[in-house]
Symmetry: C2
Subunit: 661 residues, 2 copies
């Protein structure tokens, strides 16, 4: 153990294990997670070569090998709970998506939700037994988030009782689905349903794409890998071009919408049913944001206590770089954010489960708010985490650029969350639509409930400038609930600003749609402020559940740092709304510095509490024992370019060059 | 040609070619650049496989092949001017560093600057003829920016008149130098010089590391590649461990400092001589920031007029995504920044040449300011460009993640500029040190000249709140010089704030050093504001040189957008200092929206003016002809994973799995 990091651990003021249990959602959950981790980490079947040393094809090959092994082991151990499967998979492919992700995460669940019992018999068990390997083919080259624009057609032919699936244009080629390129032999294809000359919009069809025995593409199918990407090297994201491919009528997923043999279309009962899934996936993504931040901050903070550099006092010893205020100012807000988003993820998960119960009892009342909130929080947390990962990477100096640090990989594997499952700007505008609707309702005298209740007129009056002036002098920056309050008032102000922008545009005789587009900047700002308020509020709420005084104390420091750092970074909003004045802003800067110093002794313990196993972290900089340099040297020597002393290019190009000059 | 992009070009209000000439620094420069480009692009010797489809070793191999060819061709064409060599190289390895970069950019120039004439004879011509291939080995595993901390030793042995070079610890292993791993047979090694028991600090030594014939590492040398990185795949960044390696006394670079045969050390005349080189390299990096932004915005803006998505009006046609206000708000500020940084780069380059002239005449007076400014501007522009590249990438939706977009590569090849040649936070603190010194001088009644003259007392008084209140009401947000003025006042305010923070710390009996460290956040903010002011000012100054009315008009729109967007993003600073009030901030938001609309018709023409050849851009999304989708499909089909219809992993793992389940 590196003596610096040992010393850091001795300075901690709280019980790390207890905090780990809080982060995991209870002692039992920690225990079970560690059990699953050790199943995988002690299984020689999952040993691997460092993917950084492999070619793309070798990486894919290794991932398929491990995924196949994983399926066997999950059966052997009888692991069937989705959360446990997810945990197991995360150990098998630490931090990396894999070729089976869409089979397990989209193909099987879609069958469960949308297949008839006849279809379950025909498809689910073969898929469960990996005879059928499937993917979910929605996105096309020309259309992503805007589903109505998808061009793939499924035209019903009553003569043969078949659908004809077709990609009419280059831009209609299915593009991006994971596992589509090489792995899957079936795809759930989303296509515009045409019957009797009418289009009934997007529906899901099960399309066989490869021969069940030879695995060769079937007639009419052009399928392949979409080529190298920023990350996702293990996944064969694919393309699929359908040339009048015929499938039986019974391959349309018909639990809700139906098509009779004669071509009569029967509408589904409700569109809201799919909201639940979206909420679930987005709450998972919030959790991914938290995990990416936990990993990044673990690496950067551990390295920053091992790394010594430069001098604070001339001639003095080189300090640990975490002793520089600038380094603390980069990393501790990220640490605070990692905690904040962990608690937001927990909240959303609980909400999802509660509301799923409600939905099963026919109560959809809370769904619109949660749906809108999940869109915004997905965007808010992924954008924030995306930048923060890079802050961590760059805080490690040159070594942050080495693949051995793991930070480049964390970034490239995480950044797609900003785009998939709903592009972030579009998500923010969805939340804004809900906020604008709520604002209008409140203005019309309707009483709002839930998180948007701050838009109620009575609450709302509080943000009139004259009242604010009184308020801001009364603000106690040391009081977390006071900070939650001003985040709420900022959100209310920006929601109102966006609404007024729309009104102004309408007064200038713009159409509703142009007014909306011409206010889009304000709308995104309003959603952002709304989400920021929710995050601060949930962090504060979480503190109410924590009994242990030492843990409460350190989490309060983190929560205050999270809130004040957010105010400092968005100070214009608070000043402009009169929620703070200039001298309070100065106090906040001073207070942030104090909080950084306060956190310094607990920094390593706070990342230790994330309890990320070295083999899951896979970073020479973030090692638990702090022995960074030896392992970096050892890793580099294994690099493929070092397999020979002299690279062949010397004999091919460099030596011959001399005679030519 | 895609009709959308054709239509965009027809809307332009100015002559694109004229603007290209302004960006290139004159008609002649444009012409010469295009000549060099066509030399390379028409030369079959430079044809290449897309590096995205190659393994690391193949990428390195291809790069060495092309670099060797480049050396031959430069001789053949007699190209010897450093700027022309740089231009040629940029075409040979578009957007990618290569294994010879340090040989050409550091090894040869260091010999020129620091070798004696005897050493020039021994080393320069063999290096010019590529018998000697060299690199510059400064950074060690344990130390980067802090040069005094480097641990490699060069101990003089008068008995044999040799230096003994040694890496005493793991952390002292040389780490990162480009071309060190496999390519170079010599290295200029920076080491602490020990003679007669005393250390005389860092000096440069020429160390042979590989056999001139076999290219095998010499005795006592452990050398190799440091392994895969975030980008820089073509470069063999290397490590070098020296085990008591003996070199003759004459291999120390002795143009300035000297060591006599008996071990007597003779000091160099001045340390300032190396400042010039640093200024030069940093001004080059500012130019790199501009080029990276030019490329990224070209790709994102062209793609945004070709891509249609969603609907502004229900049932209406899908608009070009550049018609969304949010998309304009992402991309047009980046476009404005690309122009701003181009002009800053031009200014620094001119300054460097002018001051080099002064230095040659013994006048060092302007050097400290330029040195300080170049540090800050290097950090300011690279940080800003770094984020902006990712904004561009993410504005392209899913396709921005494909390597075919080129955006991932632009990011990974650019982001190291934030760290190398002086880590950005350290650079900002260097600038801050100059600002604090200037502030104290001004306070002591000294009259400052140059860019920091705004810190003079007389200027400075203007920022007293009562005067500011009068000023802010008089501010004209439509007047660029008025915006330059408030950027200046913001800088003055933040410099003062940082100075006061240091004073306050000192009053609390802190040492100078602790006071500095405890004010580091404020110091970085002050430098940032200073640099931001300089950039806005230089953009405004540049407009004064532009005659053509249509070009002046569109550049003025860009400059105003750059300035107002910066105010909006840092509104807290301006509000807190009383330089703006809340209602002016609202006006600014409205004005930004107007500027976005104003720029919309010229967007494509403004990126066309960067005149980046398709083969240099290498992006299917950014193609000049806008034919995106066909080429994306064509590119994907060439992906190595598609070289077989069925990947071998199917037979190895997937098919056998069925029988086990």
């Amino acid at each position: 153990m590196n003596p610096d990091i040992l010393n850091e651990r001795q300075k901690a003021t709280f019980d790390v294990e207890k905090l780990t249990n809080i982060l995991n959602g209870g002692l039992e959950k920690t225990k079970r997670r560690r059990e699953i981790e050790s199943m995988v980490l002690n299984d020689p079947g999952f040993e691997e070569e460092d993917p950084n040393f492999l070619s793309r094809s070798e990486r894919y090959d290794q991932a398929v090998r491990k995924s196949a092994q994983m399926i066997l082991k999950l059966r052997e151990y009888g692991i069937a709970d989705p959360e446990e499967i997810y945990c197991y998979k995360s150990c098998v492919h630490p931090g990396r998506p894999d070729p089976f992700d869409l089979h397990l995460g989209m193909f099987l669940p879609t069958l469960l939700n949308q297949a008839t019992s006849e279809q379950m018999d025909r498809f689910f068990m073969p898929a469960w037994n990996l005879e059928i390997i499937g993917t979910y083919a929605q996105t096309e080259m020309g259309h992503g988030t805007h589903l109505r624009g998808l061009e793939t057609t499924a035209t019903y032919d009553p003569a043969t009782q078949e659908f004809i699936l077709n990609s009419p244009t280059v831009s209609s080629i299915k593009w991006w689905p994971g596992g589509l390129g090489k792995t899957s032999n079936h795809a759930i294809v989303l296509a515009q349903l045409y019957t009797r000359g009418n289009c009934h919009g997007l529906h899901a069809f099960i399309v066989p794409i490869r021969d069940m025995d030879t695995h060769k593409p079937l007639p009419g199918i052009v399928v392949g890998d979409i080529g190298p990407k920023f990350g996702f090297n293990e996944v064969d994201n694919g393309f699929l071009k359908l040339d009048h491919v015929r499938i039986p009528r019974e391959n349309m997923l018909m639990k809700y919408a139906k098509l009779d043999p004669d071509g009569t279309y029967v509408k589904p009962p409700s569109a809201k049913l799919t909201y639940g899934t979206m909420v679930f996936i987005r709450s998972m993504i919030v959790g991914e944001s938290a995990r990416a931040l936990a990993k990044s901050s673990t690496i950067a903070i551990r390295y920053s206590v091992v790394r010594h550099q430069s001098e604070i006092r001339p001639g003095g010893p080189e300090p640990q770089i975490l002793d520089y205020q600038t380094q603390q100012y980069k990393l501790f807000p990220v640490l605070a954010m990692a905690y904040a988003f962990t608690f937001v993820g927990q909240y959303m998960n609980q909400m999802y489960h509660r509301i799923t119960g409600d939905i099963n009892q026919g109560d959809f009342s809370e769904l619109p708010e949660l749906h809108a909130l999940s869109a915004g929080l997905k965007a808010f947390t992924t954008w924030a985490a995306n930048s923060a990962i890079e802050v961590c990477r760059m805080s490690c100096g040159g070594h942050g650029y080495s693949r051995s640090s793991a930070l480049p990989d964390i970034y490239v594997e995480f950044t797609p969350t900003c785009t998939y499952e709903g592009e972030n700007t579009v998500m923010m505008l969805q939340t804004a639509r809900y906020l604008m609707k709520s604002y209008r309702q409140a203005r019309a005298g309707q009483r709002l409930h839930g998180i948007v209740s701050y838009l109620n007129e009575s609450e709302h009056q509080r943000i009139q400038p004259q009242l604010v002036a009184a308020r801001s002098t009364g603000l106690d920056i040391n009081d977390l609930s006071s900070l939650v309050e001003i985040y709420k008032l900022r959100a209310a102000t920006l929601v109102e600003l966006a609404a007024k922008s729309i009104q102004k545009e309408l007064q200038h005789k713009k159409s509703q749609e142009d007014a909306w587009n011409n206010s889009a900047i304000d709308l995104v700002r309003a959603s952002d402020a709304h989400c920021h308020y929710v995050v601060v509020k949930l962090f504060a709420d979480k503190l109410g559940e924590i009994d242990a005084a030492t843990i409460h104390s350190v989490l309060l420091t983190l929560a205050r740092l999270y809130a004040l750092h957010g105010i400092s970074n968005n100070s214009g909003d608070f000043l402009q709304a009169g929620l703070l004045n200039g001298s309070q802003m100065l106090q906040i800067t001073t207070c942030i510095k104090e909080l950084l110093s306060e956190l310094r002794p607990n920094a390593v313990a706070l990342v230790d509490a994330f309890d990320i196993h070295d083999r899951m972290l896979n970073s020479v900089l973030g090692r638990y024992d702090g022995n960074v340099y030896e392992h970096m040297f050892e890793w580099a020597r294994r690099s493929p370019l070092n397999s020979t002393e002299v690279h062949e290019s010397y004999h091919k190009y460099l030596k011959p060059l001399r005679s030519k000059l």
